[in-house]
Symmetry: C2
């Protein structure tokens, strides 16, 4: 099973493709989709088109995204929510199912602690995927963590 994990944002979106075979996890591809500081509607169009291209090219079986739960800055949070809207659309219009996970669920699944910090998440992502180096920046390691969380959760669900 190939899983695409997405850490959403307007300025940049982290993505990570993880293959699960039995209990083995492998990172297939990971990186960032970035958008320039242009008019929001055009920015959302760029983001949507790049996300759609990524999903069409890599054909994941499942899509997993971090749920937006809190933000001190409401305007920024609304912009991230608009980005989530077009990201969800990019998958759904290609017939791919999304699962949303709250940040504590992701940390619990990957680190074993719902309140783990970014460093711990990055450490465990590196270890679980047997990577030579920690994936950077945080958006990318978070996206891989979301994919790993979904791999663990869907395995449990199949039992």
């Amino acid at each position: 099973m190939l899983i695409l994990g997405v850490d959403p944002g307007l300025e940049r979106v982290g993505f990570g493709l993880v293959r699960r075979e039995g209990s083995k996890l492998q990172a297939v591809e990971y990186g960032l989709i970035e958008t320039p500081r242009i008019e929001i509607a055009d920015r959302l169009t760029l983001l949507h088109d790049q996300m759609r291209e990524l999903i069409e090219r890599t054909q994941p079986d499942s899509l997993a995204i971090e749920r937006l739960v809190f933000a001190a800055n409401r305007t920024t949070a609304f912009d991230v929510a608009k980005a989530i809207g077009v990201i969800l659309l990019a998958g759904a219009s290609l017939g791919k199912p999304w699962t949303e996970y709250a940040p504590p669920e992701i940390k619990q699944a990957v680190v074993g602690q719902g309140n783990a910090d970014k460093k711990q998440v990055q450490f465990m992502v590196t270890k679980l995927l047997s990577l030579a180096q920690a994936p950077k920046p945080d958006d990318v390691s978070d996206a891989l963590a979301i994919a790993i969380c979904h791999a663990f959760r869907s395995r449990t669900a199949l039992r």
Copy 2:
């Protein structure tokens, strides 16, 4: 000039098409786009596709939308922001420009008071567009108010 006004939401989106010729305003078409309570990603896809179809069919010159500024319920506001994301995309991917207006700007333009209530907005929309009956529900009268606001603002901008 043909203007599409949009009152955004996830459950229902009000829309109103207003034609401005000189100082004359005319309502061309108005109504609601509604989505059933299905999975959010599929719901956003339905909303996006219907909004895109509306814009393609009616070919407005300008698109105007109410800016999301505040909500007591954060989860609901995030869902509205996701809907705004796919609505903005539907216009921008067809090359149409969007303008966002905050609720007090819209009320100021239509009623002359930034804190006018829904009833006053509905009354002035009915009057300014010479409609036989008040457009209902509020989402529709708000969408027409947004289009009227843009008609007034763009006229001022041209002077």
